[in-house]
Amino acid sequence: MTLADYMTVSALLFLIGVFGALTRRNIIGILMSIELMFNAANLNLAAFDRFLHPEGLIGQALAVFVITVAAAEIVVGLALLLAIYRNTDTTYVEDFHLLKG
């Protein structure tokens, strides 16, 4: 497997994530799609470390940071979702249209 393959995969992952984020109607789904995008980045980082800069660790360090932060984000997101669910009994985005121009 060459770097190109890894990058292709990660690009695909990223695009799938974007597509999902744009099309999923359920917030959980959107969150998962965004996770995919993060992980595409992680895959990139790891691959770069492995192929281009085997001497350094920055990529992996960064990946770890990303994973942590992503986790944190999911936490916050779910917390918000919970609050919303309490108020509106739904997790579907099209039900959120109080705020409009």
């Binding site: 984020a21 744009l22 099309t23 985005v93 099209e94 705020l99 409009k100 121009g101």
Partner: protein
């Protein structure tokens, strides 16, 4: 006394202010006597000046100037501060006119004391009259044509006020507006002439202007344009064709006021200005010719109208116009002396005629001559004085009108036969319609017994002025014509350069060009009329016309006249409708209103839309577009941006659920990929 000449216009101004603000309005107010007093002082000064000149004690022209204001100006690319003088310039004609104007005004005021008593605005009337006279005197004496123009316009104002004196009625209001607008139309010509003269000479001083012209520093073309402008002004003020429309309506004012307007001030001003700027005309033969012909045409048209009118004041008004035509024609023919001479004599007998007519109206309470007749038996004094006036205006020897009119005819004869003959005809028409007026009013039998029995002679305050004026109407001609005094009083200006004039002029170039001056004129030799005319006119023609009129109109019904009228019905109506000039004037007014309405429509519906609201509209459009991209579109529609956007908004809503996070993301993603491709593929 002449060093006090500058007081002459100011005294009546002061008087009018005192009268106006002196006390509350009161029909029996004593204040008017102040005006009379002031005018008496003016008269005294004028007499002293005139007599001093005639008796050789005083040398004219007399000029004295003071600084008025200083003005930054640019002549020939050079900018500097130039001081505008104001002052008096009294040449012989001015001296004469000072006397005439102040005398007539004095008479009119005395007369008015009786005539206007217990009018609601008694006091205000006298204030106006004094101011009016002041303006005229100012024009007469001012050495600065700009000041002259100011007085000229102020006269327009006061005539406006006098004509519309009884503004509760509709007639006076229309008349005053008409008078002001028509004269204003002419004034714009004078206005432009002044601008042009200043542009060419850089001064408003009559003497300096005269020098510039005498030295031929002004191109003939410019002179012609300026002269025509001046002529326009004169046509407006002196009611020459076709701007004569306002004068007959001006009758709506109080009769003594009309006397003042017609005899001594307003209408005389036009002729006066032409005479003051006569050197411009001398440099512009074309304009001279125009003046002559316009004068002739006016004289004829007015006289023709006077033939058919039955309103005593209108007849007098038409006769005024006609006589002014004579004067302008004389000036145009080069008869400077004749024109001004007639101006003075005319002032006396026309004032007399109006005051007399006023006295008649005062006693019979109508203007319609068909309801008068035989009044000589009721008001002898008025009749006698009126007769003098009529004889004078008809040009019967030895009354004043004879001499002046004779001079005019001579001038016309010398200038152009084609002008002379119609002018002669007009003179005879004058004799006819004036006699007609006299006959209809005083002679024959009384047509309206009711009015006749209530008629009575007017009080002394009215008759005394009549007598005074009658005296002058009788004697003025003889006095002035006697041993060439006329030529001394009204010396014709020339374009020949006096050495001192050349010396006096500022620039050296002037003096240089003085040497080889193209247009030095020699006064043309006056030749007499052929004898058969010289003696035939006063001896045969004029009396003939008068007798004709007398016999046609002495009867109660004057069938002959009516017969003629019905025989020439179309002409009669043409004259009754005053040559349709009024209709033309009204059409012009209507046209202007139409244009105004159009202009405003354009302003409100095109200019405003395009240049002001256009901006707002543009903003709105951009706003709609940007809101479209922001998904706030529907709400924009709710905000009342317009129905169109609502439909679009609904359509949009069906495509993507707007106002929702995923739509936002989509826009973002699209933008990102666009930007990326854009930049990377560069």
């Amino acid at each position: 006394m002449i060093e006090y000449a500058w007081l002459i216009p100011l005294i009546p101004v002061a008087a009018s202010l005192i009268i106006l603000f002196g006390a509350k309005e009161d029909p029996r107010s004593p204040l008017p006597w102040i005006g009379i007093g002031a005018m008496t002082v003016c008269l005294a000064l004028a007499v002293s000046i005139l007599w001093g000149f005639v008796s050789g004690g005083v040398a004219l022209p007399y000029e004295k100037n003071w600084d008025w204001f200083s003005l930054a100006t640019t002549i020939g690319g050079q900018s500097f501060v130039w001081t505008m003088p104001v002052g008096v310039l009294i040449d012989p004609p001015a001296a004469v006119l000072l006397f005439v104007v102040s005398l007539v005004s004095l008479m009119v005021q005395v007369y008015s004391i009786a005539y206007m008593h217990d009018d609601t605005r008694y006091k205000r009337y006298f204030a106006f009259v004094s101011f009016f006279t002041a303006a005229m005197l100012g024009l007469v004496v001012s050495s600065n044509i700009l000041v002259g123009f100011m007085c000229w316009e102020l006269m327009g104002l006061t005539s406006y006020l006098l004509i519309g004196f009884w503004f509760e009625r509709e007639g006076p209001c229309e008349a005053q507006k008409k008078a002001f607008m028509t004269t204003k139309l002419g004034d714009s010509g004078l206005y432009l002439a002044l601008l042009l003269l200043y542009a060419k000479t850089g001064t408003f001083q009559l003497t300096q202007l005269h020098q510039h012209f005498a030295l031929g520093l002004v191109a003939p073309a410019a002179a012609t344009v300026a002269a025509i402008g001046i002529l326009l002004g004169a046509m407006g003020k002196s009611a020459q064709a076709p701007l004569m429309v306002w004068l007959p309506d001006a009758m709506e004012g109080p009769t003594p006021g009309s006397a003042l307007i017609h005899a001594a001030t307003m209408v005389a001003a036009g002729i006066l200005v032409v005479s003051k700027l006569y050197f411009v005309f001398l440099a512009a033969p074309l304009a001279m010719e125009a003046a002559a012909w316009i004068g002739l045409i006016t004289a004829f048209m007015a006289a023709a109208m006077a033939l058919v009118s039955f309103d005593i004041k209108r007849v007098l008004a038409f006769s005024t116009v006609s006589q002014l035509g004579f004067m302008l024609c004389a000036l145009g023919c080069g008869g400077y002396t004749a024109g001004l001479f007639h101006l003075t004599t005319h002032a006396f007998f026309k004032a007399l005629l109006f005051l007399g007519a006023g006295s008649v109206i005062h006693s019979v309470h109508t203007n319609d001559m068909r309801q008068m007749g035989g009044l000589s038996r009721r008001m002898l004094l008025t009749f006698a004085t009126m007769t003098v006036a009529v004889l004078a205006i008809c040009g019967v020897w030895p009354f004043a009108g004879f001499y002046s009119k004779d001079m005019i005819l001579v001038a016309a004869w010398n200038h152009e036969k084609w002008i002379f003959w119609p002018l002669l005809l007009t003179a005879l028409m004058t004799a006819f319609y004036m006699t007609r007026l006299l006959t209809l009013t005083f002679l024959g039998d009384d047509r309206d017994h009711e009015r006749f029995h209530h008629a009575h002679e007017s009080p002394a305050l009215i008759t005394a002025p009549l007598l005074v004026l009658a005296f002058f109407s009788l004697t003025a001609g003889m006095a002035v014509a006697h041993d060439g005094l006329a030529a001394r009083l009204f010396p014709k200006p020339t374009l020949s350069v006096a050495a001192d004039a050349a010396a006096a002029t500022p620039s050296a170039s002037v003096a240089a060009s003085a040497a080889n001056n193209p247009q030095v004129q020699t006064p043309d030799a006056e030749q007499e009329l052929p004898d058969w005319l010289k003696f035939g006119i006063p001896g045969v023609f004029v009396p003939g016309a008068m007798l004709l009129a007398f016999f046609m109109y002495r009867g109660p019904k004057f069938e002959a006249a009516e017969g003629l009228r019905s025989a020439f019905a179309p002409i009669a109506t043409l004259l009754d409708r005053r040559w349709y000039l009024d209709d033309a004037f009204l059409a012009l007014v209507a046209f202007c209103d139409g244009v105004a309405a159009l202009a405003f429509w354009i302003d409100a519906n095109i200019v405003d839309r395009v240049f002001v609201d256009g901006w707002g509209l543009l903003m709105r459009i951009i706003a709609e577009i940007s809101s479209f991209f922001d998904g706030a579109f529907v709400d924009a529609a709710v905000d009342g941006v317009g129905g169109l956007s609502t439909d679009l908004g609904v359509g949009l809503r069906s495509l993507v659920a707007e106002g929702q996070v995923q739509e936002y993301m989509m826009y973002a993603a699209i933008a990102v990929s666009l930007a990326a491709t854009l930049i990377l593929t560069r």
